[in-house]
Each structure stands twice: as C-alpha cells, then as structure tokens.
C-alpha cells in the first residue's frame, strides 16, 4: 500500500494540508503568459519558484517552457528587488529579445512589497525597455488563491495593459478559453470558426505548448495571441469567458474598461455546456449553427445511447479545478453517472452550491470540499468506494491502493500524453472523454470477469 497511513476514520484538520489538490498562483500566471505571442514570463522572486514552475509545466506538456527569474538572494530579500528586476529586464531584452516580458510576483517579493509598476517605470526611464516592447505585470502572492487564480489574474492583466477602445466596434468576438489545455483552446477556436465567427482568443497556448518536432528550436513559436490582437479586444462585439473562476475577472475587466459586454459560461465539457457555448455564439451573432456541428453533437449523443448500460449508476470520485469540476460533474450526471466525492483545492462557496444543484437528483449523499485535499478524498473513498476516479496524476496512488480505474484529467498529468493534443472540450472532446471512461470501465470488467462470462461482444 503506497498510501498505507491513510486511515478510514476522518478527523477534522485545521492546519495541516496533506496531498494538496492545488498549487500556487505564479505557475498559473506563467502558463497564461506563455499564451501571448513572443512573451517571456518572468518570475520576480528567488529562482527556485521559477525552476519549480518551469519543471512542473515541462513535465505536464513535455515541451520547452522558458521563463526568467529575478534570482533573489538574501540581499534582495532585505533591500527589495528593484535592482534585480531592472537588471533582469535589461538582460532579457538584450539576450532573448521577446516582445513582452510578463512579470508575476512570488510570495517573497509580495511579502517585502516590491512595487512592480514603479520598477518597470524605472527600467523604462533607464532606457532598458526597447521601443515597441512591453513589460506587463500581475501580483500573484502564493498565499492567496491557487494556480487557477494566478491564471485568471495574468489573463486579466492582458486586458489591463493592452485592451483599447475608441468607440468603434470591430466584427469579432473575444473568447477567453479558461485554464485548459492547448488542445482545448484549439478546439474552442475550431468550433467558433465552424460557425463563421472571427475570434480573438486569449490567452492561447496552442501552437506554443504542443509544438511539432521540426529539428529547430524557437524560443517564441508561432502561437499565442499577439499584442496587436490584444489591443483590439476592447473594440470587439462581445466577450465570452469560459469558466467563472479562470475567465471571469478578465471578461469583466474588459466590460469595465472598454464596455465590451460579456457572457461567462461554464467550460464547454460535455454536450450541455457545449450546447450553451454554441447557442451563445449563435444568439450573440445572429448566426445559424452549421450542420457539421449538429453532426458532431449527434455522434456524441450516439455514443451515450449505445453505451449507456456501462455508464448508468456508476459512482465516481473527482478532484480538480472548480471550472473543470462543475462542467465535468454536469456531463457525468447527464449520462447517469454519479459523482459522489468531489474535492478541489481552490476555495469557493459558489462552487459548492453549483455542484449541489447539479447533483440534486443523486440517490447518494454527496461529499464536496472546497478547499479540500486528496488525503480527505481518499478517506471518503475508503468509507464509500467508487467505480471510477477522475483527476490528475497524483490520483494514481489512490487508484492503485484501492484498485479503482483512473481517468487522468486536469493538472498536472505527468505520466501520460495526449492531453495537449486531444481536447476534452466541445462535442469531439466529449467523445474522447467517453472513450477514456469506457476504456477504463470495460478494461476493468474484462480483467475481473470469470472465464464463463468473459465476453467478446460487450
């Protein structure tokens, strides 16, 4: 037993987090910044944070993840990090020549109270920022929020720094895709384009964190939203934000700053949430949904009707980020599966009430904790076993100890590939999710079947 010390008996903990279901703000900010074309993320603090965030993202995406750091030592921690950041800005523009440096803070620079805009002004006054290049920033103390809030805050910073409006409207809409995989961003764009919509999507990590092997390394690959495009977001017809937590702040900031009205939807996971996304596009722009998209929707539903016997009544335990969990829970419930243990590391009262609402017809009591940890999730499972686990790679320890099939989803996935290439959003993404769920459930049925009931046709 790898988690041999996890007891069935649950005791109240007020201080100790065990096996977290979240990580810290800066990594989310770094990921979002990689979705700007020509951007080098910069971590203002000691170099370990940057090393850890790059390592974690690299292990998840299996792609180069570049970011610089202010490399604080004790001196900077006492006297402030201005000298480090000004020097860093100079070095970065000289050596790596990015278009944008996206600075995020760490708990160290936050605690000493470094004023990043003031330091950036100083760098500008000292002539360290070349003409036409940008330094943007966001405050991401690690002791507030999680990687999800860090992502949301950096995405909002893109609006704060770049969105412009002169009263003229452009025939395009903004889509903020949420804290999802590059493949998901690509799929969201594909769906919008199928409907004939011109889209500015930000951030956009597709073609950045799922690059082909070409024999060449480019520090700033072709993907990512350009600064030019970001500037035009203030003149778009509307904004659709996907995922309340990850996309809400940026969508609302655009409304406040430039008067672009916004609609914040759930991540389009499963047919109901995807329906709402497609329908919102349809209504916002007064367009017809193309037959090709109806076909995809029909295929997804066809799989559900064909294989419903294997979904029906299965109990599931979930861990992940709130935006994902809300959409995923709705999808599972819609195909008659029952998520009964749900943990997220990110806090939120709204999250809990949404999940309660979605699962209100469940025949079982539902355990929800936000913020909770994987230790608690495991204890719940020991008390009330499930048929399926869904969440990040760290769940594999619970899966092995309790002998439960696992579908990997969320962040981080360190031991499997596919997530950055194949989406789980949209109708097509739904098909892939169902395939993964069925594979896990049917492989288990095959493994456990006595010889007389080992079936060729299932």
């Amino acid at each position: 037993m790898l988690l041999r010390h996890t007891s069935k008996e649950i005791t109240e903990r007020s201080a100790l987090t065990i096996n977290p279901a979240k990580t810290c703000q800066p990594i989310g900010a770094m990921y979002a910044a990689l979705g700007i074309h020509g951007c080098l993320p910069h971590s203002h603090g000691s170099q370990g944070c940057c090393a850890y965030h790059r390592s974690a993202l690299t292990r998840h995406y299996k792609e180069p993840v570049m970011a610089a750091t202010s490399s604080f030592t004790e001196g900077a921690s006492v006297f402030g990090g201005q000298a480090n950041l000004v020097q860093a800005i100079d070095n970065i523009f000289t050596i790596y020549e990015p278009e944008v440096i996206a600075v995020h803070t760490t708990c160290l620079s936050e605690t000493i109270g470094d004023d990043i805009p003031q330091i950036a002004r100083k760098a500008e006054a000292d002539g360290k920022i070349p003409e036409g290049k940008y330094v943007i920033h966001v405050n991401t103390p690690s002791y507030v929020g999680t990687h999800v809030t860090g992502f949301a805050n950096m995405t909002k910073a893109m609006v704060d720094y770049f969105a412009e409006s002169n009263g003229q409207k452009i025939d395009q809409i903004n889509i903020i895709p949420g804290y999802v995989e590059p493949s998901d961003m690509e799929e969201v764009r594909r769906i919008a384009e199928m409907m004939g919509v011109r889209v500015v999507m930000f951030p956009d990590t597709s073609k950045v964190l799922n690059r082909p092997q070409t024999g060449k390394y480019e520090m700033f690959p072709s993907g990512g939203v350009t600064v030019e495009a970001l500037k035009t977001t203030g003149a778009s017809m509307a904004t659709i934000g996907l995922g309340q937590l990850a996309s809400g702040p940026a969508a609302r900031a655009l409304d406040t700053k430039c008067g672009v009205s916004c609609e914040i939807l759930d991540l389009p996971i499963g047919f109901k949430a995807t329906d709402r996304f497609v329908d919102t596009l349809r209504k916002t722009l007064g367009i017809t949904v193309p037959e090709s998209l109806n076909e995809e929707r029909g295929q997804l539903l066809d799989i559900v009707t064909d294989m419903h016997q294997y979904f029906y009544g299965k109990k599931v335990a979930l861990a992940g980020d709130p935006d994902h969990l809300i959409a995923l829970t709705e999808f599972l419930v819609s195909i008659d599966m029952w998520p009964i243990h749900i943990v997220t590391g990110t806090s939120g009262k709204k999250f809990e009430s949404r999940i309660r609402e979605i699962t209100s017809n469940s025949p079982y009591p539902i355990n929800i904790k936000a913020p909770g940890d994987l230790f608690l999730l495991h204890q719940w499972i020991k008390n009330e076993p499930v048929d399926l686990l869904m969440g990040n790679t760290y769940l594999k320890y619970i899966a092995r100890d309790e002998d439960i099939p696992l579908v990997r989803m969320g962040f981080p996935i360190l031991d499997r590939i596919g997530h950055s290439y194949f989406p789980t959003v949209g109708y097509r993404g739904g098909m892939r999710l169902l395939e993964k769920i069925l594979d896990a459930i049917l492989d288990r049925q095959d493994r456990d079947a006595p010889e007389e009931s080992f079936e060729l046709v299932m």
């Binding site: 005791t11 100790l16 944070c49 970011a67 490399s71 030592t73 000289t94």
Partner: protein, 550 residues
Amino acid sequence: MKALNENISLETEQIDPQEVKQELLKKYPTKVARKRAKQIIVNRVSEEQELPEIGANTRTIPGIITQRGCTYAGCKGVIMGPTRDIVNITHGPIGCGFYSWLTRRNQTRPDGPEDDNFMTYCFSTDMQEENIVFGGEKKLRAAIQEAYDLFKPKAISIFSTCPVGLIGDDVHSVAREMKEKLGINVFGFSCEGYKGVSQSAGHHIANNGIFKNVVGLNDNVKEGKYRINLLGEYNIGGDAFEIDRILDECEISVVSTFSGNSTYDQFANAHTADLNTIMCHRSINYVAEMMETKFGIPWIKINFIGAQATAKSLRKIANYFENDELKQRVEDVIAREMPEVIKVRDDVRARCEGKVAMLFVGGSRAHHYQELFREIGMKTISAGYEFAHRDDYEGRKVLPSIKVDADSRNIEELEIHPDPERFRPRKTDEQLKKLQDEGFRFKDYDGMMREMSDRSLVIDDISQYESEQLIEIYKPDIFCAGIKEKFAIQKKGIPMKQLHSYDSGGPYAGFKGAINFYREIDRMVNSQIWKHIKAPWQESPELAAKYACD
C-alpha cells in the same frame, strides 16, 4: 582512456574552444559577459597538474535563464526527499510542498507492509494571507500536532519557505516545544529559498540539521564485519538498490545511506560505521568531515557510476579494511559481474565509439557520468555543474583558497569537537600512514577538470542561451541536463538524457546500472527517429513530374 577517443570526429577537434567562448559571451551586456567569462573555462591540465581557476558558486545573474533551483529545493527536495519515515512538513504557501512531492523519482523499499513510508505524502501548512500578516507559528504548531495524531511518526521535520524567513516565524522554537510535548524528535530547517545562490546551500542546511539532530542518537551497532556509510547517494531510479546489492555480495554492510532509501534509525546510528564513502562530494563532503572529527570515522571518495569506477571503488573499500578475505571476495564479485558488463559494453561501443557528449548537471553527476560515456568510447567535450563549488571542478586541494562570500557565510558552519564518549579512531596512526604510503588517499577528490581533456569547455551554471549556442556550434550526439532543458534541446534534433531524475529508466549505478546506461545511450544516439525529422518532400524539394492524365 585516450585510445578510446581516437575516433572522435575531426570536425569537433578543429573547433577552437577559445573562439567558442567568445561566441557565447558576444551577445551579453558587458557586465554579464565579464562575469560569465570567469565561469566559462577552456580546460588545460598542466604537467604539474595545475588547472585554470573557474568561477563557481556565485550568484546567478537576474534575467538569465538558469538551470538552478533554490535552497528549499536542495534541503527538502534533494536531501530529505529520499528519507522514508520522517514526516516532512513544508511550512509555507502550498506551491513549494506541491512541487517537491514525488518529483525526483527517489525510490524506497520499506521492510514490511507495516513499516512507515511517508514519501508518497505531501505535508504543508498551506499558509494563507492571514498567516503571513499575523505569523504562522500557531498554524505550524497545530499542523505538527495533527501530523502526530494521524501518523505517529518517529520524527517530524519542518522546512521554512521564503515568506517564513521574512515574517520571522521561529520554526526552531516551535520544533523544540513540540518535541518536548510529543516525545518524538522534531526539528526544523531554515532553508528559505533565497538563502545562498543555488540548491547547494539547502544541501548544507539539511545535512547540518541531520548531523545536529539525529546522528549519534542510537548506539546499537549493526552486525557486519565491514560497516560503511554511503554518503551522497539519492536512490534515483533505484541506484542505491543496485549499490546495496553489490555491497551485500561483498559482505560489506551499509549502516546508513545519506539519503537514498534512508530511515531515521539509519541516520541515528550512522556514527557506528567504520568508514564513510562519498559519492556526490558536493552534496555532503562536510558531513564526512564532521563525522571524522566527532566520531573518528575516516572518509574516502568513491564512485559507483561506471563499471570500472565501481570495481575501483570496491577495491578501495577492501584495501581500507586491509582484509585478504574481503579483497578476495571483492575480486570474485567483480569477476562474476564483469563478463555481462563487457559483453554489452562491447556491443554498444561498436555503435557509439567516437560520438560526443555534453553534460550539464548537478554537483557531481556531470563528472561521474563521463566515466560511463568513456566506457562506450564516447567523449565528453563540454561539461559543467549546476550548483558546484570550485573544489568540485579543481579538486579538494583548492579548498583553502576559496574565498567565503556573503552568500556562503549565511549558511551555518557547525563547530565540531570529538564526542567524549563515542569518539573512536578506526585506525591507528601507523595504520593510516602505512595505507597512505601505499598510495591510499583519504579525504580527497580530484575534481572534474583534471579528468577532462585539454580544450574541453567547462562551464559553470550554464544558461539556456549558452546551451543553445553550444549545440549549434558542436552538434553533439547527446546532451545531458535536466527536465527544464530537455525539450528545447530535443526540438533541435539532439537527444537529451536527463541525469537528475533520469526521465525514466535506471538504475545507472553499479554493474547492472552500467549495462542499463550503455543500452539507454545506444538507444538514444542511434535512434532512427532523428532521421525522420524532415518529410520526404522537405528533403528533396524539387518539383515532382506532373501526373499525366490529360
């Protein structure tokens, strides 16, 4: 050694390393270039074995994309990470604990299903804003209590992250208080990320902590005629298991490993061993020094990376114990293990001979792994450490000439005296002298540069930009570094082997490990896949004949 490398491609030999150095520095702002110039050295070993001086263990320049991590990473991640039965609580916001959770591929093997194993758990106080404002000691105290109630461990340790140092939480007094209250060993580490210039500072803090708080607490002497400690081995991918297997066969018992697959009790009676053997000298040489002063245990440098190095190290240990039976057993084990090693080595060498490697890793891995490459006829033309000090490059004898700067001064130096009860010289002065007269070397290591050829480039704390340039210029057959560098290198069509946590695979230590490594490198440098990067139509872009149907 030289004979093996005769086939190294002329192209590489014709490149002037001085010009390469200038090329690497060209793009840097003047001040940066001046500093980097001291850390990029064209190797030259003089007749008197003198070496050029290298700049090492200095601060990374802000804005430079570095390989390095932080002090916390060195302390909690590297040194304490592989320890099985201590509950390691990270005191800080969630990130640090999260990132150091199972990510180094340290393996462990508890004796039985009932034995403690906390390596799969991540414990954190998950500090929130209010803890930063009002202090986190109360939460830490409660967290220790909760950990104790749930797990009843033998010991609990606490790791301070950056904000803890800034707000001034006194983790050591909390540890003392909880130790008193719970009756188990509780100790803290002031390993805030900003201390020192790299993870090396964290190794020092962790080792000091173990030495101060655990070593010497258990006087039970483990059975065995030849009892050693293995220092600086972390059991990545099962390395320590392979070393244990070989030592077992030689009937040499390992009292404790610092810190691969280690336990609290191993640390507690480390002082009963008769010899300290050091693998990664950077991580831990000071522990060996302290153990010698306090308990009378001599130390030697050994290396179990490479089959020849393993054989040499076993013989060295046998010579130390001056026992003919042991010497014979070691020879028997080597004789038994080597045929398979040689078979695979020769097979692999037929395909790898003459290829060139670059290694930029850790605090001794960039050195030790050159041995494995040498065994299959590959040459290392450029190498450097991520967090080493000058002695790791230039050998231990430069220690007196290393200047102590502010960043080193803030790492505690323990003042050590002989233990009044436990100090026991393992050898008489006459025995030591006799051994030394026969050429046996105690507490010494040569450093990497002396074992690399002239004109090779030795680069400390290499940056992303420099590695890219090196690859463009030399086009090595393989590049070894860490996960952060891996995919940028591979995108250039150069295979990249991780030597920190090995990507996958291992062990690479000892005899079986050498075989694993030969095969792995063969797979990587001779893979078909690199030939497929260009599609047929990109290889020969001339227009094809028009399909004639009209």
